[in-house]
Symmetry: C2
Subunit: 263 residues, 2 copies
């Protein structure tokens, strides 16, 4: 079981550090990859783009699983190619489009089976946001945290007790991630910058890759928040713990403890 969660806008032209790591994790030259562009408004275009990049990065085989309806997501062919894959990649777009199309279908169950048997499930932007049990659907960036304006929904449930936000620094999303975490502080908030990723392994540890940072919001020590009364007024919360991790750093999700680079 491995998840690869990318904060969006990863390099696809240059050294492709972030996407290269995904291909490696899925088996490198032996990788059999399935791109699921269901989040995208242009699934054919998005699928083709990643097919090209992953092929260039040396994957043995790359298929695009394009489907336009929930009914198509139950077709045996699609389900079969998922079952023979070593890596599955969820493109960006709209996380609600992704979950509305995929959630609860035969393909969704095949995705979870593939994940449990060891395929790496990767996702960028909307594909990253959707990975948690609960996902952020929308909420303004670049403003004070407010409760009433962060919209959440059930995600794909590939990772528990973690809520992912993406394009994190680039869209000024600290406020909305804090507001989301304050709703139920047992949730760990992961704010992933663009061109940055975490690879979560089966021991519930992740390592950071790419050019940006990953901001970890640990709400368990929150002493006070006004979330239940705040409505659309600014959220206040005190005693939150914050870690900022760059490439080479990691985090133990079970122990909620940062992992420092070995010197």
């Amino acid at each position: 079981m491995a998840l690869y969660i990318i904060g969006g806008n990863e390099d696809k032209e240059g050294s492709c550090t972030v996407l290269r790591r995904f291909v490696e994790a899925a088996g490198g030259e032996e990788a059999v990859l399935i791109v699921i562009p269901a989040a995208s408004g242009d699934p054919a275009g998005a699928g083709e783009e990643y097919r090209r990049v992953f092929t260039r990065l040396g994957a043995a085989r790359v298929e695009v699983a394009a489907f336009a309806s929930r009914r198509e997501a139950a077709v045996a062919d699609l389900v079969n190619i998922l079952e023979s894959s070593t890596g599955i990649f969820l493109t960006g777009g709209d996380q609600l489009r992704l979950t509305a199309l995929l959630g609860g279908t035969e393909l969704d169950r095949a995705l979870h089976r593939a994940y449990r048997r060891g395929a790496v499930v990767g996702g960028t932007s909307a594909g990253a946001a959707a990975m948690g049990t609960t996902m952020i659907v929308e909420g303004p960036g670049e403003e004070a945290p407010r409760a009433g304006v962060v919209r959440m929904a059930p995600g794909l449930g590939l990772i528990r007790e973690v809520m992912v936000d993406q394009h994190f620094a680039q869209r000024g999303r600290l406020g909305r991630l804090l507001a989301a975490v304050a709703h139920n502080p047992y949730i760990l908030g992961l704010g992933i910058d663009e061109d940055t990723a975490v690879l979560v392994d089966d021991r519930q540890r992740f390592m950071v890759y790419g050019s940006g940072a990953v901001t970890v919001v640990d709400g368990r020590e929150i002493e006070h928040s006004n979330i239940s009364d705040a409505g659309t007024r600014p959220v206040a919360l005190t005693g939150c713990r914050l870690h900022v991790l760059a490439a080479g750093y990691g985090f133990d999700l079970a122990l909620r403890r940062p992992l420092l680079p070995e010197v």
Copy 2:
């Protein structure tokens, strides 16, 4: 001794909650205010704008201390009006223009004397940024925290052990404030949103006013950071403490403890 630190872009047309509180703190109908527009690229315009607003909000008298050179900042007239004021207001613009013009002049000394005898010193945006002993001059928003790109300089020194950043949520400045704090974690980072202010009293406590939030970054518990090696690569830091405070909340700077609204 009181400081009034505004995160910029405060309401000047509607209920003027933030500016009204400044006028009240400076004596309300008995307030004698001096506007120092030295940070502004259009000092006459900025001075006149605040003169009009403060007059409308009921101040007894509002003067604009416009000066274009360090020599003019030593003129006795200017120094005298500062000495009879109950409130001094530093406009927005460029914090470096403000400190380069004012710092170390006779007017700067008069400002500190007025502050010590009890005049309220207020500032917005650049005027807020300049209040600490060290100030952030520039540094990109909306990206991962990086050490080499945050430029700092000596500020006016009206408040110690505190570094102020403004337009905080609106310009996605968590990264640069964290990077600034990581340079020397005894510094407390104050990220103030637009249309939001803190009033710091002589017991080193502040209260929050306005429509946004104030993010307090307490770096004293930072366990690890790579700031000294990071160069222009992303900064990593672990164990930072974060509080987000809205109107009605406060903070004890000496004890580094949030103050909750009384129920």
